[in-house]
Symmetry: C2
Subunit: 83 residues, 2 copies
Amino acid sequence: MFKVKIYISLKKGVADPEGITIKDALYSLNYKEVEEVRMGKYIQLKIEGVDKDGVKEKVNQMCQKLLVNPLIEEYSYQIEELK
Amino acid sequence: MFKVKIYISLKKGVADPEGITIKDALYSLNYKEVEEVRMGKYIQLKIEGVDKDGVKEKVNQMCQKLLVNPLIEEYSYQIEELK
């Protein structure tokens, strides 16, 4: 069994109204040192698999087919084997 | 300037309908080896600061005051100095 952490973020240049709203809220709470906020998704999966390379291949497929919109988003991930 | 990556996830036991929907969608795409999906948030900040400890303190405050709902969510973060 493997645990996979997937980090999805908006590509540079893509508008992020949620991030701007959070930045404004932090500013009004007096955190004026915050220069930029970008909002993304964090997906944790548990997946059966034989080896890390096989899981890597599956995760890339799942991201490309379902989890990530490649027009506006980019992703990275970490895979950890559960003993 | 520091870059902070904040990972927010639902606590164990908190219902995650979005995660279940994704799991079902992956299942119907034939990724039947996926056992669990948990959906969370990934926030990237850029923040001015003097040292890492000061930034850490600020990030904890921002999480507790605004970004995280401590009843149902937990968080972790990484801080990296931008040169």
